[in-house]
């Protein structure tokens, strides 16, 4: 399958990319790693007039230390996020999610920012980013603004990004010393998660002091399991206590029904996977 014709622009600076986006009118698409966009173009589910490639903008790549946060450039490839020591030390749940994201070839090409901006509710990065209170730095014609993760994911494949804006980097508050796990449930290799759970916990002397739990594919956007988080605080990191807290994992969710399972099945999965994820994160 071959995409419809389009004009291709490969700017080398963010300013040029924003200009190209402004010039292209309302039928342009940004290509980051292209691992979601190219299949869409090939199946002709979308046929933009202009494709703007961010692949040659070096300033959008890499992970840096910024005091109380780490900053992941939007064009940092998954494979580089996976091996990054800053991410591992300060946002381990991201490392755990990227480890099981798609397959090795896709991780070599796909990018952190591209996956988040694509906003597939079954994508693996939304729930960890939400759970860690990441901030999305967005450049546009009027300058730069920062969007909280809570506000970034609006709906299916829809974010707070305006048509003339580009996601440039993601700031993630440091949580060194926290345990983390991403529990993903699939039936076959390199499938999108039917449901997945991102858990990060701070355990001190066998007691859970703080907890962050994000849900993948339990609604049209990634979701926080706040009831679980609150129930976990102050509890011992034991199977019994975590099981009780995880029972409310599906509270407030609106999971889809499809060939992989109906909504009730997903609600049940969410409780099971939350228990597994939290226990693994707590090292219990």
């Amino acid at each position: 399958m071959i995409p419809a014709q389009f004009e291709y622009v490969a700017p080398t600076t963010l300013e040029d990319a924003l200009q190209a986006l402004a010039d292209a009118g309302d039928d342009a698409k940004i290509i980051a790693g292209g691992q979601s966009l190219l299949p869409v173009l090939r199946m002709r589910l979308n046929a933009p007039d202009v494709v703007i490639d961010l692949g040659r903008i070096e300033s959008l790549r890499g992970v840096r230390d910024d005091g109380d946060a780490i900053v992941v450039g939007a064009m940092t490839r998954h494979a580089d996020v996976l091996t990054d020591p800053l991410v591992r030390e300060n946002a381990f749940v991201i490392t755990k999610a990227v480890e099981v994201l798609a397959d090795p070839q896709v991780r070599h090409r796909g990018t952190f920012g591209g996956a988040l901006a694509h906003a597939d509710p079954a994508g693996d990065l939304g729930a960890p980013a939400l759970a860690l209170d990441a901030e999305f730095v967005v450049a546009g014609p009027r300058g730069t603004r920062t969007v909280a993760a809570e506000d970034f994911f609006v709906d299916l494949f829809t974010t707070a990004l305006e048509e003339n804006e580009i996601l440039t980097e993601v700031r993630i508050p440091k949580r060194a010393g926290w345990g983390a796990h991403y529990e993903k449930f699939v039936r076959v290799a390199h499938q999108w998660p039917i449901v997945a759970v991102a858990a990060a916990v701070k355990v001190d002397g066998g007691t859970i002091r703080e907890a962050r739990v994000g849900l993948t594919n339990m609604g049209s956007t990634p979701l926080r399991a706040r009831a679980v988080e609150q129930a976990l605080v102050g509890q011992p990191a034991t199977d019994e206590a975590v099981r009780a807290a995880a029972a409310s994992a599906a509270e407030g969710t609106d999971p889809p029904s499809d060939l992989n399972g109906d909504a009730d099945y997903r609600r049940h999965l969410a409780t099971v996977l939350t228990r597994r994820a939290v226990l693994a994160a707590a090292g219990a």
Partner: protein, 158 residues
């Protein structure tokens, strides 16, 4: 771009996929199109030293890049050790997935020269064999990594 050590300069339509450029412009039909939906990995090549699915990359994105295909592996008429291992271990049935499997298997060993069986299977997660011949494929990767008794022919070529 550089492909299998040779430099090429071409004007292509922006929509041309890397796999079509390799096959139709350069005649490198060793890289095959399997599923055409980026699932099967049969079209795997190395781009700047890392495995990618060439049906999921535009040729124009590779401007200035370095590509290695299955056709660029053998040196001086000698099979690459991974090719030799696939041959010795009979790691193919119909053979259609083989070019992509070999390219990805080399990438797996580049990252981790002594993977466990589980790590090999995870590393080949993005490559499908519709004949379901995975067992011998994993054996071949183990052999190429020097972790199992290697038939003499492989040791000679390695």
């Amino acid at each position: 771009m550089t492909v299998d050590g040779a430099s090429y300069t071409d004007d292509v339509e922006p929509r041309m996929l890397l796999v079509h450029y390799l096959r139709e412009r350069l005649g490198k039909t060793g890289t095959v199109v399997g599923c055409d939906t980026s699932n099967c990995g049969a079209c795997t090549v190395h781009l700047d030293g890392r495995s990618v699915k060439s049906c999921n990359v535009l040729a124009v994105q590779v401007d200035g890049g370095e590509v290695t295909t299955i056709e660029g592996l053998s040196q001086g008429g000698e099979l690459h050790p991974m090719q030799a291992a696939f041959h010795e271990c009979h790691a193919l049935q119909c053979g259609f997935c083989t070019p992509g499997m070999i390219m990805q298997a080399i990438d797996v060993l580049n990252d981790n020269p002594k993977p466990t069986e589980e790590q090999i299977r995870e590393g080949l997660e993005g490559n499908l064999c519709r004949c379901t011949g995975y067992h011998n494929i994993v054996r071949a990767v183990q052999a190429a990594s020097g972790q199992t008794a290697v038939p003499a022919a492989i040791e000679e070529s390695a």
